[in-house]
Amino acid sequence: MVTLKRSKERKIPSHFFGVFFGLLLGVFIPAQSYSTTLKNVPDDLTRLTLEELMEIQVTSVSKKPERMKQAPAAVFVITQEDIRRSGATQIPEVLRMVPGVEVARVDSNKWAVSIRGFNNLFARKLLVLIDGRSVYTGLFSGTFWDTQDTALEDIDRIEVIRGPGATVWGVNAVNGVINIITKKASRTQGSLVSGGGGNVEQGFTTLRYGNKLGENAHYRVYGKWFNRDSFEHPSGMDSNDDWTAIRGGFRVDWNLSENSELTFQGDIYNGESNSRRFTVLAPAVSAVVNESEDVKGANLLTRWSRQFSDQSNLKVQFYYNQEDRKGPVFSQYIDILDLDVQHRFALSNRHDLVWGFNNRVIIDELESSFALSFNPMSDTNYFGNAFIQDQITLVPDQLKFTVGTKLGYNTFSGWEIQPSGRLLWTPSDKHTVWASASRAVRTPSRLEDSFTLNFLTLGPNTVQLMGNTELKSENLLAYELGYRVKSTKHLFFDIATFYNVYNDLLTQEPITPSAPFFITSQNQNLMKGEAWGIEVASTWDVFDFWRVKAAFTWFELDLFLDPASQDPTATAANGSSPQFQVNFRSYLDLPNGWELDTALNYVDELPDLGIEEYVRLDLRLGWHASDRVELSVTGQNLLESNHQEFLGFAGGIQPALVPRSVYGKFTLRY
């Protein structure tokens, strides 16, 4: 590899790094004796707000808070602190720190995000949830990241589960689940005002207010607005991908009694996302055009939960989600109704059961253009499934076996069964070993079922891709093995490995054209594949004032076509994922309320897309001027004036270069 040769020639810089970090350590270790370090423990706590103090778990009430450490799956948790100190202003940017997750910014308002391969502008093999609400589009199960937003200060944590989470979670959780969880209203009391701006961030502000509603209920309301500049196209032209949005929302948490709770929440947004798109305007006529999409949506969710005992609870959730996009190439008006019920109870000392069901209706109304059309233009589809899972304690406190299955029905592919078995071994408090085997499916989407996309012109001919109502689900058999160790209070280390076997993956096969001067292909299930990889995450509290986190990903994908397939492009996914990714973060607390945060991110080349490897350096300097005022300056992509992270081939979106950016921000709490 070229890069290896280069590094040999440049051995000195790597020594330079050693010396540099050595100096860094040398400066900080003697400067702070251990006794003063200990005085800093209460210092840190006194800097917290009352709401934050009220959330610190000082005693463990049940086994549930241990859930993450005890999970027999590859789990990574992004905390509010991680989000704040990353300086990220959009949710997908925060996900760069997670091993096994691929994040590439296609243009100013579009991201390709996936887990364990198959990345695409609208990667379709993962499930994205915000407070239990699926936010991937009902149309083709990709995620429009430009409309997935909330007040970032109100996010409690983002749990990223790599690998099939199909048994408990919904369909689409083939390669993983991204679960965004906001704080309870009781934790966001009082007022928060934040805002700022910079070269790309041309202005943003968030307002939030929380208060009590009587004795047993809390609420919050928020509003948020931003305006982001366009990037540059690789040709040097402006990419016309600037965007703006305004959104607002609320959340009410009501303690009906000691053991039951009712949550009611909702959001509404309206924005404009622009792009440059290559599009076929008429037979044999194509052009790159600037376009503007009006995006708006709203959702309302209610969740009732009741704790019967330590081992038993019931949760019922219902939501309505509306998601509209209006653009020149296509427009969608989608309504989703979703009911989810989960019941957990202990059958005996050894058996901990969870069962539940989910029903979902997706009602769509689409508008087409010559480039993209649907048949029918409006449709209603049903999804229903039920699951049961038993966690069996084989050896108390040491060995647990979880077995479960999900049985689902959908209008596209009929019945699907998704079983899984997981083994968890905790030989001591410090060590956790887990292994699993599971099956997951990705059901065909409305788009793959019934669309016609005219995506290219070749002389007098128009090249088109058509949906297929006979599609089968893409399916996966996944084998995983993981190990977690908390070697001391200050060091945590997590390693996960997997071997995935895919069947019935989608390809595009030539068929007899529908009309003269058309070259037509159709989606079929004629590809298989294997993927394997290693993901490592670690956290090291070097001192009370310095935390270092690192993540490493090694990923391999090998796709092969069925002999009957004539698709020349499907195996390109082989080289659309970075083979290696490294993420290094440092959170340094300096005296007088200053913070210096560093994130260094290496992403390997994407050979099949012609994307070169790149290194991102993000720096954030923050200052807690008082308990109520926080100021910060964040620089992103500081090493290069710009770089390209992906192609935008889905739907003809023109990719843009991600630029160096700097912005300042203030946050007031009172």
Binding site: T37, Q189, V542
Partner: protein, 200 residues
């Protein structure tokens, strides 16, 4: 990118090299770091009391004493600890902190008859036997009483800590605060459980 290219440095081999060396460093150095910290951090395990002390620190920002409670604009804010308990050390660590232009001074209350200097008195659970007489003595002194025992607020203490779901909560007896002419901000009251027992 400038003359020094990170792209060449951070290649795959170096990444692996750094990870392996990082691991070795952890294995060698981490137990030592841990040991040194563990020796001195007896109270560090007592998160509960550090959190409660941080609450006390926070309270000072949301409570206004009458102006005659301080001799000058920059007189210190005196916190006294009555009795003995695990919160003593975390509270002592607040010593010297500045809140709204006043320095916090923490000390042990040796003699209940010499309490006039204090603005806050924290009553340790060790005093539960003579709680009534203690609170009687502190009546109409303009001192904010904070306790950490069931029934403290009902017995006419101003603020009391309790645990709920493993988290620290606090209750405020608004009658007492009113009697002592303490102004408690609405923000603090929003987060508190309100106790209304007759206290005069």
């Amino acid at each position: 990118m400038g003359c020094f290219s990170f792209r060449y440095v951070l290649n795959i081999r170096l990444s692996l090299h750094l990870i392996v060396h990082g691991l070795l460093f952890w294995i060698w150095c981490e137990p030592m770091v841990g040991q040194v910290l563990a020796e001195e951090s007896v109270y560090a395990a007592e998160v509960e009391y550090e959190v409660k002390a941080a609450f006390v620190h926070n309270f000072t920002q949301f409570i206004d004493w009458p102006s005659d409670a301080f001799e000058t604009e920059d007189s210190s804010l005196q916190i006294g600890i009555l009795g003995a308990g695990p919160i003593d050390n975390p509270l002592m660590n607040l010593n010297g902190k500045k809140v709204k232009g006043r320095v916090l001074e923490i000390s042990k209350v040796e003699d209940l008859s010499e309490i006039i200097q204090y603005h806050i008195i924290f009553v340790n659970p060790s005093e539960i036997g003579q709680l009534r007489s203690v609170l009687d003595t502190l009546k109409n002194t303009g001192i904010l009483t904070i306790g950490d025992m069931p029934g403290f607020a009902e017995e006419c203490g101003a603020i009391n800590f309790y645990l709920q779901g493993g988290k620290v909560r606090f209750e405020v007896n608004v009658e007492v605060a009113h009697r002592e002419k303490l102004k408690i901000s609405s923000k603090l009251l929003r987060l508190a459980r309100i106790v209304n027992s007759k206290c005069d």
